[in-house]
Symmetry: C2
């Protein structure tokens, strides 16, 4: 008899006043979110990559829960990070525009002060928080991590190609040297990028060890494998996948180091660790980019390969070991999940886009959300409800460069057709209507925040 896959509960959280009381079975557990950059759905051993070895992430999955349908809030860096840290679609935060842009060194914008982040919300429950790695939510006063609820910050404030040394793109020549920051201070420029994964790991371990006796939140957004990719001497040249494999295998090593520290300090049974990626693989950069496996296309698109990411949840003793779930999840669900566990609250004066994932973490057959919205910049291009996905507009980051509008929309059944190959729009007009209804309701309540991404001197 096959395991019966019952959809127990469906509630699509689009407006949620979560002044919650904790029902956490562990008093204020710690939280660690490890966020790779441009890692594709198919880039880990446990997600089927044939030549990248990820024994530590494979073990993390064997001891925890692997998601096969987990999404980011956007298909590029800046809005994806905003979504994770605020639990809200980036179109509500202003970290989108009519293109599909991120913050650049000349940008003066960033995550608005009015937004409430996970670490800010956790403060009321006594948590200490650190961001270690790539920020990319603003790098001028008012937008630094320590101004958004983090007690500590160490890392590079934006992408590692945003320097004249890493790019021959005309505008990049005008950028300042790449800063490495601690708190709000630049402590180095043009740091040796081969050492970034290692240094982030050491900083993370130090943070965990220093805070072992109080609840903490560690947010570890790696700089890698965003291009240009680098690995330390110990990893360079070791993977049959080449440098990209070296880089992923070093991130895998880093995950192993962090889980080992949790085990060694006895914190493993009171720490929820999430490993995921900010968006899909950068398919246009050749060997330096990853793969979305069987999913279609990659970073920068609203095809599945752009926004569905490998995701593993780990909490020994709490999350059952060795499970896989097909339930939907998003990075925007992490905020309500963590706040509920922490017994922390957040303002109820705004719309959130996440749902508490704890039912899924405890039972892979549970479902807590029924839909996904796929935005490209500030425009909704696709939507998913249950297994069905409609595309209003598509654009490939890989082979084409012009948007294509679809009337009627394309319709795919992502359960039967995860690769988005077979358009079923003609066969199922009633499903299109049902999704259209969901989208209409969503867009009716949507208020787009003014874009933070404009760069006046770029004049575009």
């Amino acid at each position: 008899m096959p395991f019966s896959y019952i959809r127990i509960t469906f509630f699509f959280v689009s407006l949620c006043a979560c002044s919650s009381n904790s029902q956490a079975p562990v008093d204020r557990p710690n939280f660690i979110v490890i966020f790779a950059d441009d890692l594709g759905y198919g880039d880990l051993g446990v997600y089927g990559h044939p030549t990248i070895r990820t024994p530590h992430l494979d073990r993390m999955a064997a001891e925890g829960l692997r998601f096969t349908q987990f999404y980011t809030g956007a298909s590029v860096c800046t809005p994806s990070r905003a979504a994770l840290l605020t639990g809200r679609l980036p179109v509500r935060n202003g970290l989108t525009d009519d293109q599909i842009r991120v913050l650049f060194p000349p940008s003066k914008g960033g995550l608005p002060a009015s937004e409430v982040t996970i670490p800010e919300a956790l403060q009321s429950a006594g948590y200490v928080s650190a961001a270690i790695g790539k920020w990319h939510l603003g790098h001028v006063p008012g937008h630094f991590p320590t101004e958004h609820g983090f007690d500590e910050y160490f890392g590079i404030p934006y992408s590692n190609d945003m320097t004249p040394t890493a790019s021959d793109w005309g505008r990049a020549q005008t950028y300042p040297p790449l800063p490495l920051m601690r708190g709000t201070e630049v402590i180095e420029t043009e740091p040796d990028q081969r050492l970034l994964t290692r240094r982030y790991t050491e900083e993370s371990i130090s943070f965990i060890q220093r805070n072992r006796d109080r609840p903490f939140f560690l947010y570890l957004p790696h700089t890698m494998p965003h291009i240009p990719i680098f690995a330390s001497d110990e990893f360079e040249g070791t993977s049959t996948r080449g440098l990209y494999g070296d880089v992923i295998e070093e991130i895998d090593w880093s995950v192993g180091q962090i889980l080992d520290v949790l085990r060694d300090t006895g914190l493993d049974r009171k720490t929820l660790v999430i490993f995921t990626s900010d968006n899909g693989p950068w398919l246009t950069v050749g060997f330096a980019g990853g793969t979305a496996g069987l999913l279609r296309d990659g970073k920068g698109t609203t095809w599945e390969g752009g926004m569905r990411v490998p995701t593993i949840a780990w909490w020994p003793g709490m999350i059952p070991a060795g499970q896989t779930t097909q339930s939907l999840g998003t990075t925007m669900d992490l905020m309500p999940t963590m706040l509920e566990l922490a017994g922390a609250s957040r303002p109820d004066d705004r719309i959130y886009d996440g749902a508490d994932l704890m039912p899924v973490l405890l039972d892979p057959a549970a479902e807590v959300r029924k839909g996904i919205y796929y935005y490209r910049g500030a425009q909704l291009w696709a939507a998913r409800k249950g297994p069905w996905k409609i595309h209003y507009v598509t654009r490939s980051a890989y082979v084409g460069d012009q948007p294509v509008e679809h009337e009627p929309p394309l319709l795919f059944h992502l359960g039967r057709d995860p690769g988005e190959r077979f358009n079923l729009a003609e066969e199922h007009p009633e499903v299109i209507l049902e999704l259209q209804e969901m989208v209409d309701a969503h867009l009716t309540e949507l208020v787009r925040a003014p874009s933070q991404l404009k760069i006046p001197e770029w004049n575009d």
Copy 2:
């Protein structure tokens, strides 16, 4: 420090006189080969499929060894089966022609009596053997499984679409009803295909139980998921992947049943079990076909998706648990592996194409073969040496239908580029020369057997 991936030994077995003396640490272990039909590289949970659940195969991998670079001897049914059972490229057996054909109901040919199969060779070591499932190596007297060394046979002698009831293809209307055979007798016609996986499983369990006190070889080539696909009532409608998922999940259940019987009878520690597939997914049949994951193309092609298959080896207490190997392997390696373990011999008057895989099964970092030849019908279209693959001719089974000759050949690095996206022929002419040398040596010693696949009345 990353796990050091040392290539210890390279020896490419193309001619091997294996009148071996066993060095087997278990006296004459049992062998079970479970052979799915048209299952793609990306179709199992443990190979990254998002909506097909395969908990039993996932567990088999967690307790055993998962191959990421394991190949069949051909990209379609008949020659692939000949390769597995004889340890020789099908072009040597006559089960190829200048097209890419298989045996059909009007065929009078089959595996020649001069070929020595695994069960024939094992007889000298006292093994009893059964074939349960799809044969497809001849269905007229002289070619039946029991005339090729198997003591028992139960199953359908060719593909399940070769009947007027399953196909509207003109010629199929002239076919006899689909036979279900025991030994050389037809015991039913047009059996309920929904029950085939279950019946094969029951027959397999019976064979294991009846032979628990003597060494045995069970060859279980499933009829599924070759189209038309069917699942039993207990599985139909249960997978989010639709009927194809139901079918794979029933095969997964079957694997679980067989491993359970081995555990229950205490035979698990003296039985080598191999799970693999006869070729890649049938991409042109829509929802009824599988996926090769990130590999290019599928069944019928010499792209990786046509001939690289999901493969798991399991032998508790002998094969280390939870390992993945990138070492090359093929179905033609199973014969020398099994014969060496059994202390059985085979004639040394012919060329074999396999290598004893036991070093890899014991140590995933070992390597026992350095190359792969990719034939389409009787023609060599591609070759692999180490990570490098050249294509002389390509043809897609998916989007195109004409062969394309490549001069110079296409060159891919399958370690860095498993999806065969980036042709490096211009950058690495020296690698092309090296592969050309290997291919030349291979073709020089090659003797093509007369084709068994001609059907005079088809006149083609």
